[in-house]
């Protein structure tokens, strides 16, 4: 438990990992929406810049403090880390994806009140969940087993697609931003998996076990 607590709040990591987890998602989204919508999102950003401080950042802070970092303690700090020791990083990410994906069944059903709609929505989001688990696993390993960095990325992603998040600042339909972010996450996850040859930033097995001790 002490080891898990230490990894959950490990904040002394190179600054670049804070940049990757917090700055890369909104910047990549901005580039993607500019490619798709032209300059309209930039104009909306210039017009609605104050919403960054009144809507987007508060949403991000709430996600960090009460939601996603806590979520990642269980899914990354505990489940992914243990599975990784036994099965390697790629299989661990695949297994964690299934478990994490199933975890969303009750809340999805409550939102849709329809088994068919639940199945459709979850089916659509299976690949993005896999992409996000690959990215989060890579961030966790690369930042020296820091659950905090993984949680920050998850919080930023959720703050971006939230109706009161970056969606409102850019004045774009939430569903379209959700689809764009899903595509970005799937692509980034695939690039990371291929680029790291399935290691997801994990150093030699003796070093990773030492990180967890």
């Amino acid at each position: 438990m002490r080891n898990l607590a230490r990894r959950s709040f490990k904040w002394r990591v190179p600054l670049r990992w804070y940049a990757v987890s917090l700055l890369a998602p909104p910047l990549i989204l901005l580039l993607a929406v500019m490619a798709l919508y032209g300059l309209a999102p930039l104009r909306a950003l210039a017009q609605n810049w104050s919403l960054i401080f009144t809507l987007f950042l508060p949403a991000l802070v709430i996600m960090i403090l009460f939601n996603n970092v806590a979520e990642e303690i269980g899914w990354t700090g505990f489940t992914f880390a243990r599975l990784q020791d036994r099965h390697g990083p790629l299989r661990a990410a695949l297994l964690t994806t299934v478990f994490f994906w199933l975890y969303h069944v009750p809340s999805c059903y409550v939102e849709t009140r329809s088994r068919l709609a639940t199945a459709v929505v979850l089916g659509i989001f299976l690949l993005p969940h896999l992409g996000s688990r690959l990215i989060i696993g890579w961030l966790y390993n690369s930042a020296g087993a820091s659950v905090l960095i993984a949680g920050l990325f998850h919080a930023m992603h959720n703050a971006i697609v939230s109706a009161t998040g970056l969606v409102a600042v850019l004045a774009l339909p939430q569903f379209e931003v959700l689809v764009i972010m899903a595509a970005v996450v799937v692509l980034a996850g695939a690039i990371i998996a291929v680029g790291t040859r399935g290691r997801l930033g994990l150093r030699q097995s003796s070093e990773s076990a030492a990180d967890r001790k």
């Binding site: 269980g74 489940t79 478990f99 199933l102 975890y103 009750p106 809340s107 059903y109 409550v110």
Partner: protein, 69 residues
């Protein structure tokens, strides 16, 4: 009775230690299902006969019968 309960708890603890991930998953899924479905189910009509709701039953059982017993 206490001996059996103690044995059960020891066996459960042993099982959790041997299967930490499954234990976590059971806990996580049970919690999300409870949070998602129990509040809805408590006031859902049609789950119990005669127009009763689980909330109503709990209210009578836990609110009236248990304190009186």
């Amino acid at each position: 009775m206490n001996v059996h309960l103690g044995m059960f708890i020891r066996a459960l603890r042993s099982w959790i230690i041997q299967h930490p991930i499954i234990s976590f998953l059971i806990l996580a899924y049970a919690t999300t299902a409870a949070l998602a479905f129990v509040p809805e189910a408590l006031t859902e009509l049609g789950l119990l006969p005669g127009g009763a709701t689980p909330h109503g039953v709990l209210e009578n059982v836990a609110g009236s019968a248990v304190p009186l017993s």
